[in-house]
Symmetry: C2
Subunit: 356 residues, 2 copies
Amino acid sequence: MASRAAGSSAPTIVDVAAQAGVSIKTVSRVLNQEPGVQEKTREQVLKVVAELKYRPKLSARSLAGARSFLIGLLYYDPSAAFVAGVQQGATLRCREAGYHLVVESLHNDAPDIDSQVERVVSALRPDGMVLTPPLCDNPKVLKALRESGTPCVLMSPGRQAKGQASVRMDDVHAAEEVTNLLISLGHERIGFIRGASDQAASGLRYQGFANAMKAHGLGLDPELIQQGDFTFQSGVDGAHQLLSRRVRPTAVFASNDDMALGVLAAAQRLGLAVPSDLSIAGFDDSPAASLVWPPLTTVRQPVDQMARMAVEMLIAANRSDAQPLAESDLHRVLPYELLVRNSTCAPAAKPVTKRK
Amino acid sequence: MASRAAGSSAPTIVDVAAQAGVSIKTVSRVLNQEPGVQEKTREQVLKVVAELKYRPKLSARSLAGARSFLIGLLYYDPSAAFVAGVQQGATLRCREAGYHLVVESLHNDAPDIDSQVERVVSALRPDGMVLTPPLCDNPKVLKALRESGTPCVLMSPGRQAKGQASVRMDDVHAAEEVTNLLISLGHERIGFIRGASDQAASGLRYQGFANAMKAHGLGLDPELIQQGDFTFQSGVDGAHQLLSRRVRPTAVFASNDDMALGVLAAAQRLGLAVPSDLSIAGFDDSPAASLVWPPLTTVRQPVDQMARMAVEMLIAANRSDAQPLAESDLHRVLPYELLVRNSTCAPAAKPVTKRK
DNA sequence: CTGAAAGCGCTTACAG
DNA sequence: CTGAAAGCGCTTACAG
């Protein structure tokens, strides 16, 4: 591996000050966009900065000042796509603001997770932390962060704690819309597969489904509701249950795409044509959702926008003139997107009771 | 958002030294595991460190010393799964060694990508950088990094530059093994879909395919070789070409899973049963590969192990007593894993020429 | 509008 | 085996 650059080391604030004929304090003012610098002086400093390609060193700023210009992202990977999306939004927003994103992958069930968090925080002193599920619902993690005084924004947390900033999408409404779509296509017997019972989104999505069904006077047949756990296999299992009913559903709405793909696989093995014999809808817009035939009707979560918003909130709160946010501004809800693709259509025959 | 913790600030090295009745230099020695500290003194210091929950502040260590304890990860996201895998391996290894991972998502085609890199490096002064494709093959990125003197490890680079550390898997051999598997099942007419022509892996995988075919005296029929670009759609297109041949292949080997999924979708639309009418093999073990029916036979890249190794090399090179690596130790090749699943089987009939 | 001084919390030479 | 001093490169009060 190449050894470290030898020769003249990088320019410091002292070099810039000397070259520009001002004090280092003035250079600091210009760089931090503080008021009270004569326009002419400012320009002169900026010119020298450009000439020397001067870049302030983060460690020095961090040690001397109150900010580290570091935002932390804590995650425990359920879905690669989710993490990648979060990161995309977060790193871009960080760069725009001169911050940097430090990521740490933690195991949600680690017995010493609180000390792991504490360790990271006291070494890095990040200006804020973004937490993703399920870590954002882990009391030990939240406690460790609270004790360290690190500002946090939770992404799609289960419960919305008072005073705790969060960013989410409207799961209930999105699930309602998916259900409405199926109903509008003519489906009446709609199977539903719930997500993992310990995850907040599961309840919310079921709620949306139930709302829409009731609103159309369709009622909730317990026979058509299966408990899943967000895995492909639980989708397969749920589908086998639903499709063995005396009166089969003409559509199945799974609480996420992995389970919807399980339903699709099960239907194909049973020789059912999708969507003509069975419509299928998912949730998440996972990469695989568009890599199967037929591509899945699903809901796209604005994951990168949510992350961008989370970072935005942390940076804003970090400014010296920041005002504490009102409770109503602490919880942001971002718009989702309904993606209608080829896995859903009107039921082949009238949705009457018949056996195949 | 919660305000910063007030009250007594975190303990510093001075507090530990005072409490332990030694100088700060001794505390520093113990913490950095430097030699020349009496065992009794060491224990005493460690005891106080634990009592006070003292954690050295990264910015201070970084400013005073030669190391920043930061490793950078530069990526331009082609595949979420790849990035997630890299990160998993990298963050875990970093944590074990007391380092932290800073990630930056860059656009490979950005005209100012060199200055973006330069900016990140001069602010952070990371002790090393991990580069993933295609950034690891971007001359502007490599040049900026070289000029800054930042040690780099490239993951799966296209060309293996002399003196430039890299980590990869053996694409050629893996593709050979996949092809051998198909041949051993009885396939003779095997279609191949190449990856994007500007990516190094494409050529390597084709090479492996060609090697195996020739080794078995099967030759390379240009009619059975399609150019793809690693996208689902190019897999669909390639499949349509291959399956419209007068004499259809009985198996298709696609250079990655996304294309293999395209082949699967195309086959299903044409009414072909997979694998009995057509065997399909992919490459990458993408999440979707096991979320379809039938699940894909594919190759798992040891992405997280590769990232772990890359970080390992950077950390090792960063030690004060580090020796420059010999050329042969600069390039690591990690073992892959062949995953034989249900998308491949023996051809239904003898692989004779027939029309369906 | 501008600057001289002190200090952030460590590590690096250098002594003993 | 241990320590006193200097210094890393910035920002923070405080003056003028």
